[in-house]
């Protein structure tokens, strides 16, 4: 505060720009790009891990989202992502991994792409990146549940799966 004031006094501070150049990248997007959270992988074959792989290289967007679920409570304890895509796609998947941590599986299915887009101030042309992130979350949860169903063969896996598909 004081330093800025003293700088202004000496006429050293950078002048306020007369026009604010229109921003295409929100600060949050840049932040997630420069300091991505939760980049990495879990072991695919681990029964507590659900992997969602969505997108296509032809579209220029591929997201892999992995969740580690606590078997007893159904809570997502950790998440990792890897993305092939533009800055907005990387930021969307990074945000997705942050938001799913510590939540129940049913809860994360309600995360909407519009929320991710709003958090990152994505322009309309980039909305599909947030859609892909939402799909990735859903795919990861579905994959985990399929794994559990195979292991247990219990009926309680089925109604949750139906809720996921709804």
């Amino acid at each position: 505060m004081l330093r800025l004031a003293s700088k202004r006094l000496l006429g050293q501070a950078p002048p306020r720009p007369a026009q604010i150049l229109s921003r295409f990248y929100h600060e949050n997007v840049i932040d997630h790009f420069n300091n991505p959270r939760n980049v990495g992988s879990f072991d695919k074959n681990d029964p507590t891990v659900g992997t969602g792989l969505v997108g296509a290289p032809a579209c220029g967007d591929v997201m892999k989202l992995q969740i580690k679920v606590d078997e007893k409570t159904g809570e997502i304890v950790d998440a990792r992502f890897k993305t092939f895509g533009c800055g907005s796609a990387i930021a969307s998947s990074s945000v997705a991994t942050e938001w799913v941590k510590g939540k129940q599986m049913e809860e994360v299915l309600t995360i909407k792409n519009t929320e991710i887009a709003k958090h990152l101030s994505l322009p309309p042309v980039k909305l599909h990146c947030s859609m892909l992130a939402e799909d990735a979350i859903k795919a990861a949860v579905k994959d985990y549940q399929t794994k559990r169903a195979k292991v247990n063969g219990t009926p309680d896996a089925a109604p949750v799966e139906q809720a996921a598909q709804a």
Binding site: L2, R3, S6, K7, L9, L10, Q12, P14, L21, S22, R23, F24, Y25, H26, E27, V29, I30, F33, P36, V39, S41, L53, V54, G55, A56, P57, A58, C59, G60, D61, V62, M63, K64, K82, T83, F84, G85, C86, G87, S88, A89, I90, V125, K126, H128, M131, L132, D135, A139
Partner: protein, 458 residues
């Protein structure tokens, strides 16, 4: 506390005024100097925040195909015509007009000299886009009774393709020739595409995205054989490769000022006189520029373009040698540290100053975002307004996933070795970081063949 801060700021001001008295160089080497600054001085420097990105200095400019800085010698030639000799070249009655006209004519001969033409065959326009429009629409509309067909390629500049589309809407027919995977047009296909009612063949000399040089002499020969006018968009070729309108047998050639270190807003059109090619003017008015392009000829801009052409003629060989060495340095530097790097387009038949690379498993826009200290451009979908990857790369037959990964490095007269080295360093760093984040790279490392996977699209 406050007094201490004030004192330190005072000291810094004095130190800074001492440093900033040295004149700022023209080159963008400011960003290339990686001398570690003290942390406080770093903060005080003009931190530029554009589009949410904070960069510490102006980025290195490696996008010479988009535009080029004006050569100081060109600017020197232009300034008198803004300040003292500001007359309209078409004013016939006083000194201001006469001297302005004489400058325009000098510039005309400078441009003509560079391409082996006569000054009477040069028409000044507002840029290569206008010249392309005049050539394509003007020629076809003039000969519209007899000639209804145009032959061009799929990798032309947007203004050529759009003019052709406009002609199609008016009832003409257009053939868009495919190119090989090296970007070169197939001469046999060209030969078979020409019909008795073909009014124009348009093939650009040097492609702006991938830099490949088309076989101009051979195409010229074919056009002469069939007696079809040959138009070429030489905006990227002027001053960079030797051009001879006689050897190439071109009837029309579009030239641009701001690609050869000249001012923006000016270009030229070469129109052959023997045999004469006629066009319907697209700009109507007082009949300036022999009725082809009405409107006051902008003397300073035209003088600038002329000066730029003269410099280009003198320095073409030297520049070419230097740029070639820099391109090799760039390519070798990157390939030494990274695998999965593909050069798009033919390496042999290529203008050295254009290097279009694809980095496998890394997406172009995210790489550009990471390369914020280097000004380059990409053929990736995300950077175009639509979500389509570059049509030029698609015409090359580049796999769709690789089309999303391309970066175009443009090297020019003012690029230094330090800038190239820094660009190599930053590129390698960013690509490695993004590959760590890429699921495709991970899959490849695990030995999975990506092409076999069924992707779930939504």
């Amino acid at each position: 506390m406050a007094s201490k801060l004030l004192a330190s700021s005072c000291r810094r001001t004095l130190a800074r005024t001492a440093n900033t008295s040295a004149p700022r160089g023209i080159s963008t080497a400011a960003g290339a100097a990686v001398v570690a600054p003290t942390p406080e001085a770093f903060e005080d420097q003009g931190v530029v925040t554009v589009k949410g990105v904070k960069i510490s200095a102006r980025p290195l400019y490696l996008d010479m195909q988009a535009t080029s800085p004006v050569d100081p010698r060109v600017l020197d030639a232009m300034l008198p015509y803004y300040l003292a000799r500001f007359g309209n070249p078409h004013s016939r009655t006083h000194l201001y007009g006469w001297e302005s006209d004489s400058a325009v004519e000098t510039a005309r001969s400078q441009v003509a000299d560079l391409i082996g033409a006569s000054p009477k065959e040069i028409v000044f326009t507002s840029g290569a886009t206008e010249s392309n429009n005049i050539s394509i629409k003007g020629v076809m509309k003039f000969y519209k009774e007899k000639k209804r067909h145009v032959v061009t390629t799929q990798t032309e500049h947007k203004c050529v393709l759009d003019s052709c589309r406009h002609l199609q809407q008016e009832g003409f027919e257009v053939t868009y020739l495919p190119v090989g995977s090296d970007g070169i047009v197939d001469l046999e296909k060209l030969r078979s595409a020409i019909r008795p009612d073909t009014g124009l063949v348009s093939v650009m000399a040097v492609n702006n995205e991938i830099g490949v040089i088309q076989p101009m002499e051979e195409i010229g020969k074919i056009c002469k054989e069939f007696n079809v006018p040959f138009h070429t968009d030489a905006a990227q070729a002027l001053g960079k490769i030797p051009i001879d309108v006689e050897k190439w047998n071109v009837s029309l050639m579009s030239l641009s000022g701001h690609k050869i270190y000249g001012p923006k807003g000016v270009g030229a059109l070469f129109m052959r006189r023997r045999p004469r090619i006629r066009v319907e003017p697209q700009m109507n008015g007082g009949g300036q520029e022999r009725g082809i392009r009405s409107g006051t000829v902008p003397t300073p801009l035209v003088v600038g373009m002329g000066a730029a052409c003269e410099l280009a003629k003198k320095e073409m060989k030297y520049d070419d040698k230097r740029i070639r060495a820099l391109q090799e340095r760039l390519l070798k530097g990157i390939k030494a540290k990274l695998d999965g790097v593909v050069v798009n387009g033919s390496i042999e038949r290529r203008y050295a100053g254009n290097l279009n690379l694809s980095f496998a498993y890394v997406e172009g826009e995210s790489l550009l975002m990471g390369l914020k200290d280097v000004a380059v451009s990409s053929g990736s979908a995300c950077t175009s307004a639509s979500l389509e990857p570059s049509y030029v790369l698609r015409a090359l037959g580049v796999d769709e996933d690789m089309a999303h990964t391309s970066i175009r490095f443009g090297i020019g007269r003012f690029t230094t070795e330090a800038e190239i080295d820094r660009a190599v360093e930053l590129t390698v760093q960013q690509v490695e970081k993004l590959r760590e984040m890429s699921p495709l790279y991970e899959m490849v490392k695990e030995g999975i063949d990506i092409k076999q996977i069924q992707w779930a699209q939504h």
